[in-house]
Amino acid sequence: MRHLTAMLACALVAYPLLIAPVTSVLVIAAMALALCALGFLLGTPLVVAGAILALVEYALALWLSGAPPRLVGAALFGVGVTLLLETADFGWRAQRATLGPGVVASQIRHWATFGVIAGTSALVATGVASAASVSVRLPWAPALAATGAAVALVAVAFAVRRRRR
């Protein structure tokens, strides 16, 4: 399971380097990879930090390159981040445990199915949004900021609820 997580982490930090092969992106990539590697040894929160750093690296690469949008790559990157978190979590849980027959195979089947569905859904949603944006002009940046704030608020509320319990 760790091989799969390591491959995903390597792919995630390498993709932004293809977009903008500059030193600053490389440094962040190295840091993200190091955090993921430490996460394998010490716990999944470090993998989460590594994933966030990979996102920062991706955003920086996009900002530096100034190239036209690559939506297929972005959808794959999103699927990769989700699978990285899920596989790292499963790998951590399955440490020092007996894995029954078919456990790994069924998990891989699930992740593959999820990857296909999530990637396709993201692309379809993007297509729909693009089509809709032709007719309806939304102020995207404030809308996204509001969505992000709402998600962050939900996350904080969830965290506080867990701690009280």
Partner: protein, 424 residues
Amino acid sequence: MTTRLTPLVLSVTTVGAWGLVLAVFSGRAELVVVVLPLLLALLVTSRTTAPPDWSITHTISAERVFEGERVTVTVTVVAGQAVALLELFEPLPPGMRVVGGHNRGFFTLARGQRVEWKYEVECVRRGRVSLGTMHARWWDRAGFHAGETAMRAPWQLRVYPSVLPLRRLPGPRRTQSSVGNYVAPSVGEGLEPGDIREFVPGDRVRHVNWRASLRFGRLFVTQYHLERNADVILMLDTLAEAGAAPDTTVDASIRAAAALATAYLARKDRVGLIEYCGPFRWVRPDSGRAHHERLLEALLRADVMFSYVTQEVALVPRRVLPPQALVIAISPLLDARFEKAVVDLAARGFDVMVLSPSPIPLVRRARRASPSVDLACRLWALERKARAEALRRLGIAIVEWNPAEPLQAALGGLVGARRRRAAR
């Protein structure tokens, strides 16, 4: 039975939020697309999973083992309905250690499927182990949602103290009337030849010594020494202990008691046990295999139990402590109450000897080496030597045993000490 969202949901939410924030700051649509699979995964989470229907059964390869032996635990899981991912965990008590496989397992079960899961444990410390609480957690495939429950499938294991091999044992000063392995000075029915005397009517023909009869021209018979057994009382000190489990002084004492009981019973002696833990707990002297098991059961229960009660040895009934018994006191000599009891027994004319498992190497092993520990151990050794000398002056044979070394070597010292004392 409880269900909950897992920390992975928080992780995915955090990463998603970061993605949206970065999308705002960078003004790139790709970062919004990156967040979409994360949001989709969270949407899938909202589906609640029904608690699965499953059952477990336990089997173990042996129900009674000795310390250091291994037991294979087989857990059979049967699913009444399909389970995406079932995690089972069986916590083990401190006296057991997993040596093969794992005591935690993940299973994916189809409806009606039966899965066997095996792991091997080593029994490190004696005791009666009751197990069988299986903690179960079922997960959805993504790992966002989990439910927990615990299930009882009780199984019990008895771990007897390991029996150390012994060849030579300290012999008793006085024997009993039953048949045993000790050659008595008096003559009668036995195997060991003694004197020769003239035949008198009533002697058995098979006792006729034909060589002497032919030489002297008269009938002579060979007399034989009686073979007797002895009563051996093992007196165990459980007033205090030193060292870290599973190598405390009480553990060492119990192993020594088990070895001595096994060896003396093999010599047809009657063996009894007195556990001195403030009040007395005892097993009456007897012989045979059933009694061996009785003694081992009593040793399973033996443990340090703090008590302000101090009973006198005079309270122990005669049938438990017969007057001509050999008393082997097994004590690290940490509590003065036990020493007093030993001196009291010696003063009452009992044949008493002390086997003292030394607490110093056990404590040294449990603590980190330092000059202060070294000095304390040296002072402690001097104090123990002085106490042992005081007991010797009272005529009590005492020998110190380092539990890391074979018990036979220490008992050799005890045999020698008794022989020297008898010669004086």
